[in-house]
């Protein structure tokens, strides 16, 4: 019984991991850029959440998801417009990697300056402890909410990309950046919006993760690692793959912790290693 609950909780948190990765997957898919500061933005969102909780003490952190996501969208837009767009047209992928690496380092140190190096936590109050009975099993209410939110966001993203005019433009720009200019589309502006979206998704994941686990300005690297593993494990080019990749890692981590309480995320990383060795192109790769 306990095992089933563990696995279920793993699935539920796995949705969160998927959310951590989907923003990264979006950027890689659309502009072939690996944003090495993705993890730092995840952590920054959590810090902004903490600040906002300080300013509005009565408000539950979950309600703050929307304003934090909006702020993250704006930051992503500016990051792309001011910096990344300068290097995205170069054939050499290193420029973008170095640039975002630099951004990550600067951000990390700025956060230490502003917030200090202590571990923080986002309090979700009763919600974090509450559990409900489903079919005789104890399932956390918060993890259920998180999974529901993750699925909703994933579905929303899919629909945005496949059913809307904007989504069409994004996909076309990802295919042929020059040809869309012939149709009046400015690729730079498309990238600005996509980066905003990427960081908005990352910020939701960041806030939710901060409720579950404590964080510091140095947590960015860990978050980036998870995001990376989710994207690669799931397979480049598919978002539901990222979701499933996240779930796989989530289950592996919680099962591993039950087996070996000192392991931390070791088993998740081991699973990733095995997965990549056996199927390098991802578990759920979609034909490009």
């Amino acid at each position: 019984m306990m095992w089933v609950e563990t696995i279920i909780n793993g699935i539920l948190y796995g949705g969160l991991y998927g959310l951590l990765g989907v923003g990264l997957a979006l950027i890689v898919g659309v502009m072939r850029v690996v944003n090495l500061s993705h993890g730092e933005f995840i952590v920054l969102s959590a810090f902004i959440g903490v600040s906002l909780v300080g300013v509005f003490p009565g408000v539950h952190p979950l309600v703050l998801l929307l304003p934090v996501a909006a702020i993250a969208f704006g930051l992503g837009f500016v990051l792309q417009a001011a910096l990344i767009n300068r290097v995205v047209t170069r054939p050499d992928p290193f420029a973008a990697i170095l640039l975002t690496f630099g951004v990550a380092v600067v951000m990390r140190n700025l956060m230490v300056e502003i917030y200090g190096a202590d571990l923080r936590h986002l309090q979700a109050g009763q919600l974090a402890q509450a559990s409900t009975g489903i079919g005789g099993l104890h399932v956390g209410v918060l993890p259920l909410l998180i999974l529901a939110l993750s699925v909703a966001l994933f579905t929303g993203l899919q629909l945005l990309l496949t059913r809307t005019r904007f989504g069409r433009i994004v996909r076309a720009t990802a295919d042929h950046r020059d040809v869309v200019r012939l149709m009046g589309v400015n690729p730079g502006r498309v990238y600005n919006l996509v980066m905003g979206l990427s960081l908005a998704l990352a910020s939701v994941a960041g806030m939710l993760l901060a409720i579950r686990a404590s964080f510091s300005p140095y947590s960015g690297v860990e978050r980036l690692l998870v995001a990376f593993e989710v994207v690669v494990l799931g397979g480049l080019g598919t978002f539901w793959g990222a979701m499933l990749g996240g779930i796989t890692l989530g289950v592996a981590e919680l099962v591993g912790l039950r087996l070996d309480p000192n392991a931390g995320p070791l088993y998740a990383h081991l699973l990733f290693l095995v997965g990549v060795l056996l199927r390098p192109s991802g578990l759920f790769r979609v034909r490009t």
């Binding site: 005019r165 069409r168 433009i169 996909r171 076309a172 990802a174 295919d175 042929h176 020059d178 040809v179 869309v180 200019r181 012939l182 149709m183 009046g184 589309v185 400015n186």
Partner: protein, 232 residues
Amino acid sequence: MTLLEVEALDTFYGDFQALFGVSVRVEAGETVALIGANGAGKTTFLKSLVGLIDRRRGEIRFAGESITGEPAERISQLGLSLVPEGRLLFPSLNVEENLLMGALNRRPGTWNLARVYELFPVLRERRRQSPNALSGGQQHMVAIGRALMSNPKLLLCDEISLGLAPLVVDQIYESLGHIRAEGASIVLVEQDVKRAAGAADRVYCLLKGRITLHGQARGMGLEQLSRAYFGT
């Protein structure tokens, strides 16, 4: 009215000069052919017109307005539409979505999705398919349709017969007749001299970045064309 006036165009890829003093004129309603061998500069010329190449000298005027320094995004809104060499369809979009992309810059006119499907009925059958599932000729149809969706005043066609069987090329060129009938002017860039010269009112020949011949298509001898094409 002179729809397109290109005066002494020099175009560069970095330090490499690809076009030397190219002057071309297209009157409203005309079909003009630009022929030349591989590497003569035909695609470079078209790309310069639509604003995809930054380094250029000389004057380009479209419908009386100077477009010489303008970026591609702006030029695309003025009624100049390109069917690119190699089609360059969007593989992540299906046929219909590819056509709809062409309508982003839609100017008032007769061309819309229904009319394009009328012109190329096979596309309606395959409209939810990926462009990769289509034959070469059908992909050319999508590329042309996509360019038509904006209702261009001037349609630039880059090697629309390339790699296609003669019967399919016949079909494509027949569609040009319908396009012409709706009022668009056309620039046909081709390696196939007979096809292009046969469909055009006037012909220009390009060799190593320079115009070597220019005149009425009717009455232009094969000898003359050969000399200008090969530079002998």
